[in-house]
Amino acid sequence: MTVPGNSTLGPPLGEPVEVGARVAAWDRVRADLTAYGTALIYAQLADLQPDLPEGEELRALLGRDWSRYLDLAHPAVRSRYAASRILLKFAAGAVLNGDPDDLELAYGPTGRPYLRGCDQIDISLSHTEDLLLVGLTTRGLIGVDAERTDRQMYGSGLGRHVCTPYELVTLASLEQEQRNPSLVRLWTLKEAYSKAIGQGMQFRFSEFGFGPDGKPVRVQRPDGTAGTGSEWAFRTFVLDTGYCVSAAVYDAGFGAVLDTDITTMLDQDAAEAITAALNEQE
């Protein structure tokens, strides 16, 4: 087990792309999605905040999230909530060549977000402190998570809730200064994986684990033996700003999707239902 180190090994997945008021890198996001079937996007809340829309414009962008937004009383929580949804919609709009206003963010029974009517693209969202992170994939499922690498986790009693017995032993064998960042890496991987499968923390983190960085990362059983195969891809990156970012991507075998235009990505069932309805009217 090692600290997260932006390993060049592991599955093909582009480094997280920064976007914001001063950095518009949507071409890179689109290129990543074409090349890897997956794109990771992040922004600093402070960069986005000055340009966040207000009033009716914000209401239109948030869509069904508007009422939830109004329910939030704490200004910082409210601002982060709006910024994260807007980043997600702009990212999805950029890769789908669609208007962010037209995209509807919906939530599954466990709170997992998805783009209604665009089932061929999966999304994930994470935010911590002033970092907003979005993951997009056309491969199948995605989960992303971020945490500060220096957030104190090791030695605070969290180990028994977060780690498998194998991971606890492995962490304890590391040099003192490597234990905390290694635990943060494990935490973000577990959060990303559990988000991808739509379980959140209902899936006990002590019942599945991860091996070291520096070679293909797999889900492990509590005793350290392999639990998943190559259909799952995991990567961890450390941003210059001190955040540890992990992504979990499930390859459902759809292959590379070269055309992500929204008219192509519309859910087939939805498209057929619309076509049938139009035919009935004729």
């Binding site: 009383a73 986790m153 605070s156 009693g157 977060v162 923390m201 209902q202």
Partner: protein, 84 residues
């Protein structure tokens, strides 16, 4: 239980051990609306409560709680049930 028998003591634990800046009213605030609260805090709280009460705290039930008051009720209820 000891210092967390009442809701005030429970909030003090949250302030001192987790560093959360909470008013007394935040006991009834939706957890999604508490600045700084996240899933890592939740597990840290479970650890603290287990140390404080000397028994296992059901993480699944804590996850379902929407407010600190509900978490406190869970823990206080469990302590009463476990009392001889």
């Amino acid at each position: 239980m000891s210092g967390i028998d009442d809701l005030g003591g429970f909030l003090r634990l949250l302030r001192t051990e987790l560093g959360l800046q909470l008013s007394d009213r935040d006991a009834y605030t939706d957890l999604a609306d508490v600045e700084g609260w996240d899933s890592l805090h939740l597990l840290r709280l479970v650890s603290l409560l287990e140390d404080e009460t000397g028994r296992r705290i059901p993480v699944r039930q804590v996850l379902e709680a929407r407010t600190f008051q509900q978490i406190h009720s869970l823990v206080a209820g469990g302590a009463r049930a476990a009392a001889p």
